[in-house]
Each structure stands twice: as structure tokens, then as C-alpha cells.
């Protein structure tokens, strides 16, 4: 704990009252049903709707910020400025096409945007999303298989008792996960299920409970602004 106590300004105090008040308000509404004159649940629902509006505006700010940063990159010919052109081109192409022809289309009933424009944009959006975005992202993520294989090859070495246990448990789970291994010996699946149900659950539970206690402590500290 820091020995220096920073003096709270008036703005800090106002902010703290709002954080404290709303934090405890939601905790009370969430855990306690209060029947009475004031419908706390409907007040809570209305406030949540405002949060939706505020957070949605944050997406717009993100686009503006991205445009500013990369536009300056291009204008000042900074390193990698060519990539900024590609980024901005695809950002706005995808944005425009998505607004016209995706599940998020602004005018799916063609009330304002002409139907011919929607028809023209639909295959472009489908190509960009299903053929480019899905495949590129999946390919990049799939590279993990090769990195994991390489890392496992290096890490799973029986150097000590602990690493031997890790090696044996890892191999049994891998073999149990592979249906082809059951053709060799059906016991692999049973062992995998046992490892997942008991040793894994015990370890994961310890991590979960530890993390949950940490979150509660952090939340209470934040609500009461400790240490200030």
C-alpha cells in the first residue's frame, strides 16, 4: 500500500460518488428484489439502455481514431504508409458494403437504398466476408497447430518427476482425444475422461476460486476507491 495519500479533488469526489452509487445500486437490484413504490428494476433497465447507446458511440470513435492515425501515416509518408492505404481502403470498402448488404444492413427492405445497389453489393460482401476474412483468419489461427506441435515437442521432456507426470498426462489426453487411438486400445478415451473429470477439475477449480476472490476484492477496492 502506498504511504502517500493523494488529496481528492472535487471532480474526483463527484466521480467517486457516481461510481460508488451506481455500483452498489446494480448490486442491490441484482441480488435483492425490492417490492414497493419505486420499481428499481425498470430504472436499472433504463440505465442499461443508456449504457448501450454510450458504448455504441465508442465504435464510431474507434473508426475516427483509426482513420486519423493512418491518414497521418500516409500524409507524412511514415514507415509502412503503404499498408495504411490498404487498411483504410478495406476498412471503408467493408464498412460501405456491410451497411448496404450484410446482416447489419441499414436498409434491408430497400426503402431508401435502390434494390439494384443492394443486389450489386451482396456478392461483394459475401466474397469479402466468407472467402477472404473467414479463410484468412482461420488460416492464421490454424498455424497455432504447428506452433503447439513444435512447442510440445520441446516442452514434453521427461527431465524430472514433475515434467514426467506432465508428459504422461499430456500424451494420454492427446491420445484419448484422437478417435484413431481407440482403435489401438479403447482405454485411452476412458483415461482421458477420468483426467478431465478429476485432476483437471480439481486444478481448474482452484484457479477459478482464486480468480473469483481476486475479482471480488478488486471490485470492492475500486468501489470504495481504496487506497486513495
Amino acid at each position: 500500500m502506498s504511504s502517500e495519500k493523494k488529496k481528492m479533488t472535487r471532480e474526483d469526489l463527484a466521480l467517486q460518488i457516481i461510481i460508488f452509487g451506481l455500483g452498489f445500486f446494480y448490486a442491490i437490484v441484482y441480488y435483492i428484489a425490492v417490492p414497493g413504490v419505486v420499481d428499481l428494476q425498470s430504472i436499472s433497465d433504463q440505465l442499461l439502455a443508456y449504457i448501450t447507446a454510450v458504448l455504441t458511440a465508442a465504435f464510431g470513435i474507434g473508426v475516427i481514431n483509426l482513420t486519423r492515425v493512418h491518414w497521418l501515416n500516409i500524409k507524412r509518408k511514415r514507415a509502412t504508409w503503404k499498408y495504411s492505404i490498404i487498411l483504410l481502403f478495406f476498412l471503408y470498402t467493408m464498412l460501405i458494403v456491410s451497411v448496404i448488404a450484410s446482416p447489419f444492413a441499414l436498409d434491408p427492405g430497400a426503402a431508401v437504398i435502390p434494390a439494384s445497389v443492394i443486389q450489386f453489393s451482396t456478392p461483394i460482401w459475401q466474397f469479402l466476408y466468407y472467402k477472404i476474412m473467414v479463410n484468412i483468419n482461420s488460416s492464421i489461427f490454424s498455424l497455432l497447430a504447428f506452433f503447439i506441435a513444435s512447442a510440445a515437442y520441446r516442452a514434453f521432456r521427461a527431465r524430472s518427476l514433475e515434467s514426467t507426470i506432465l508428459l504422461v498426462a499430456g500424451l494420454l489426453v492427446i491420445l484419448g482425444q484422437a478417435p484413431i487411438a481407440d482403435l489401438i486400445w479403447p482405454g485411452f478415451s476412458i483415461i482421458r475422461d477420468w483426467i478431465m473429470a478429476f485432476p483437471n477439475t480439481a486444478g481448474q477449480r482452484g484457479i477459478l476460486i482464486g480468480a473469483a476472490l481476486g475479482i471480488i476484492v478488486f471490485s470492492v477496492r475500486r468501489l470504495i476507491r481504496y487506497p486513495w
Binding site: T52, P179, S189, T201
Partner: protein
């Protein structure tokens, strides 16, 4: 050398169409049986909470589970906590056999849940927080929403989740408060972390990666190439083990 062997053992089974029989895991069977035992006219929520990067892992799960739901006399709402979700849900809907179910009456795609505030509000009132579906229809006008105006009456929510955050959100806000049963279709990296929640009964089912999709395909006796994909993954795992 390791990479070359991996490439070989993955591609050969795929190119030779060598499907393998997949034993059913208890975590997969639990979800399958839970859906089979749902009373007629139950409301089920499917949440598409994965990005395009894990489509090869979670999309097959979403297809087979959705197919089972369309074979059962239940109503289905599609939502998403990932902004890719509504599009991926539509892709799944294009793939499965919808039988005689009608959009708006038996199922609807309500789109993206933008934040926790909406998630907390939906059990009380769906239309207030998601006023339009992905086809631009006012949510309140859909017959399925007139029948089920609030999520709190749902009998099951299934999240296809790539980072476990969606599962925890549903457990906190829907299961904890309204006792809506939750199941998860998980990637291989997050599935072990879900086991304590499955063993405690907080999750009614856990699907482990693409293997669970293959298991589900076996249970449904339908073919969406999940077992075929599993043969490539399976031989890669055995090769990795043998290399030690």
C-alpha cells in the same frame, strides 16, 4: 521436419476420405440427451460467440447442434456476443435442414448483443433491448417474441464460445439469476476450464472442439464432414504422441 510430418498426416486422411468411428464423450452425450428431453414448445437460445478465426473448430459444432434443434419441436432464438455471430448464424441456417419451421414463428436471428447491459436486460424484455432482428423486422412483431417476450422463460442457452467469456456471462446473468440451463460448445483450449462447471451441474453439456461435432454427427446419424475432419486431426495427434 516436424511441420512436414504434420502436414502429411493431416492432408492424407482428408484427401483419401478416411473417416473414423468416434466414441461418444459423456460431456457431449449430456447435451444431446438434454435437448432430446426438452418438452415440446420449449425456448432454446443459441449464442454465436466466436470469431472467424475458429470457424473450423466451432462452426461444425454449431451446425450439428442447430440441426438437432430443428429436428425437435422447440423454438429457437439466435443471438451473438461476437459481432461475427449474426453472419455465422445465418451461414449455419443456410446449411441445416429446417424442415417445416418458419422464420419468425419457430426461429429468429436477433443479432448482436452489444454489451453486458443488453445481456442483463434481455431476461426481462427482449424487444426493448434488441428492437430489430437481422432481417430488419421489428422484434416485437415476430410471433416467436409475442409467445416468449422475455428470455427468462428459456429452457436452454447454448453458447459457441472461443474464449469462455460468453459462457461466464451467461452463467452469471442468466443461469445464476433465472436458472436458465447453460451449455457450451468450446474450443480445445478453453474446454478443460469448463469441466468444474460441468461437474457442478452449472453447465448441462460441454462440447470439446471439432471432436464433439464428430460425436454429435454420429449421434444424429447425419453427415456434415465432421468425422472426416476428425480423421486428419486424429492422425496428427497420434503422430505427435509417437514422436515422443
Amino acid at each position: 521436419m516436424v511441420y512436414a510430418i504434420l502436414l502429411l498426416v493431416i492432408t492424407v486422411p482428408l484427401l483419401t476420405h478416411s473417416a473414423v468411428a468416434v466414441p461418444i464423450s459423456p460431456t457431449t452425450l449430456a447435451l444431446y440427451q438434454f435437448i432430446e428431453n426438452l418438452p415440446a414448445n420449449s425456448l432454446v437460445v443459441e449464442s454465436f460467440d466466436y470469431a472467424t478465426s475458429v470457424v473450423p473448430e466451432l462452426h461444425p459444432q454449431a451446425i450439428v447442434v442447430t440441426q438437432q434443434l430443428f429436428l425437435r419441436p422447440v423454438k429457437i432464438l439466435f443471438v451473438a456476443l461476437d459481432n461475427n455471430g449474426p453472419t455465422l448464424a445465418d451461414a449455419v441456417l443456410d446449411t441445416v435442414n429446417k424442415g417445416n419451421k418458419t422464420y419468425g414463428v419457430d426461429y429468429a436471428n436477433l443479432g448482436y448483443i452489444p454489451n453486458t447491459a443488453t445481456l442483463i436486460g434481455m431476461p426481462a424484455n427482449i424487444a426493448q433491448f434488441l428492437p430489430l432482428d437481422t432481417r430488419g423486422n421489428p422484434t416485437a412483431s415476430l410471433p416467436i417474441i409475442k409467445e416468449f417476450p422475455a428470455i427468462k422463460v428459456a429452457s436452454l442457452v447454448i453458447t459457441f464460445d472461443d474464449d469462455s467469456s460468453a459462457a461466464y456471462s451467461y452463467l452469471q446473468y442468466w443461469e445464476g439469476r433465472y436458472k436458465i440451463p447453460v451449455a457450451i460448445g468450446a474450443t480445445a483450449t478453453i474446454a478443460p476450464g469448463m469441466m468444474p462447471l460441468f461437474n457442478s451441474g452449472q453447465l448441462v453439456g460441454v462440447l470439446f472442439s471439432v471432436r464433439a461435432a464428430a460425436e454429435y454427427e454420429t449421434l444424429l446419424s447425419q453427415h456434415y464432414h465432421c468425422c472426416l475432419g476428425m480423421s486428419g486431426a486424429s492422425s496428427a495427434m497420434v503422430a505427435l504422441s509417437a514422436s515422443h
